[in-house]
């Protein structure tokens, strides 16, 4: 979706303000929000792509007015609600009102192995790669209403394949619960002037990581 999360090239947000000696968390509730979000992935069973879509799929005003972990919380609540794990009336009441679903728990002993394993997304390739390093490719002009990872600022622009990463889980389908549908993944590099015209900083090159179906051969 063309949501407020797709920010590359937007103006008006002001300067970047680094915080000296920034703590890992800025409040106790951020610690807890972080931890319950990570822990609930096991009982919830959602993919990282579903999580991302739950966070970004909101009105731009809402997205932009929430802080980072507030967006995490909103996404988590939506994912749990969709699966009937925790419902809005329970959040309002502050206590369980409905029976527990039979789902696995992330126990203390599972934490280290879960973090060490992570969630690798490389998969056996379903077909030979269509593009090779050095190929000129066009990022499609596409505007799906669902989840996608092709940012607006490269759509319709031509770049060059710089890296080939093997086949990876396709986020657009994974977020839509239609499966992993692995595709070849490429790093595609664009000249700044191709993306921003005369308004690009000189000498700039920018890459995105793009799945094969986001791309077409370019002359």
């Amino acid at each position: 979706m063309n949501g407020a999360h797709d920010m590359g090239g937007m103006d008006g947000f002001g300067p970047v303000v680094p915080e000296p000696n920034e703590p890992m968390f800025h409040a106790q509730w951020e610690r807890r929000a972080f931890a319950i979000t990570l822990a609930m992935a096991r009982p919830g069973g959602w993919t990282i792509d579903m999580s991302r879509f739950a966070r970004e799929n909101r009105s731009p005003a809402d997205y932009l007015s929430k802080s980072y972990y507030q967006i995490w919380l909103a996404g988590l609540e939506q994912l749990m609600e969709e699966r009937g794990l925790v419902t809005a009336d329970e959040v309002a009441a502050g206590k369980p009102l409905h029976p527990r679903k039979d789902v696995p728990l992330l126990g203390a002993a599972d934490v280290a192995p879960m973090l060490a394993r992570g969630g690798p997304t490389e998969r056996p390739a379903p077909a030979p790669a269509r593009f090779a390093v050095g190929d000129r490719v066009l990022a499609k002009e596409m505007h799906p209403q669902g989840h996608t990872r092709l940012p607006r600022y490269v759509r319709g622009r031509t770049g060059v394949v710089e890296l080939v990463h093997g086949a990876h889980v396709f986020p657009d389908s994974s977020a839509a619960s239609t499966g992993e549908q692995p595709q070849w993944l490429y790093t595609v590099t664009f000249d700044g002037a191709e993306l921003w015209g005369a308004d690009a900083e000189p000498g700039l090159r920018v890459s995105v990581d793009a799945w094969e179906s986001y791309l077409e051969s370019a002359p």
Partner: protein, 214 residues
Amino acid sequence: MNNHSETHAHHHHDHDHSELSETELRVRALETILTEKGYVDPVALDLLIETYETKVGPRNGAQVVAKAWSDPAYRARLLEDATAAIAELGYVGRQGEHVVAVENTPAQHNVVVCTLCSCYPWPVLGLPPVWYKSAPYRSRVVKEPRAVLADFGVTLPEGTAIRVWDSTAEIRYLVIPMRPAGTEGWSETQLADLVTRDSMIGTGLARAPAEIAA
């Protein structure tokens, strides 16, 4: 998305305080429900927080960079397959499943961003700082990285080209900053002290020896 998290020093809304309380109460309610329903184990939650607050952070990445500066064979392995080379030092897992290392040179400076969310190489850098997740950084660095670097007090030579890596998939990028001059013969431990978090994102440079002498 707010540039700053709620408790950051700069408050833009009069009603921040009540929102903070609302959010705090909501998180407490959620945790209570999840615990009582048996969906989360409080000990596991504490372990998750402890891991990222105390064990995983940019010191990991600094070790990787220092080793690459010191050991040409390791540097070659890092540039060839960063995931495996980083795993040699024991840094693996979540948000670091597929890592690519990109090396700064006098000709090219690398900067990493995730314009769509907050992708970041956790095993080597820990959790990202607020500015990395903020709208100003995500919106501007793909279009005007020199202006963004100026916000960090960094000015690059005009002849250095800037290469921005937007992490739109599960590939995570680690910048290998240039080794500062005057560090010949330094140990990996000494070198690691020069490697800042920002230098591995590309919004900073490695520190000069004089900066840590004091």
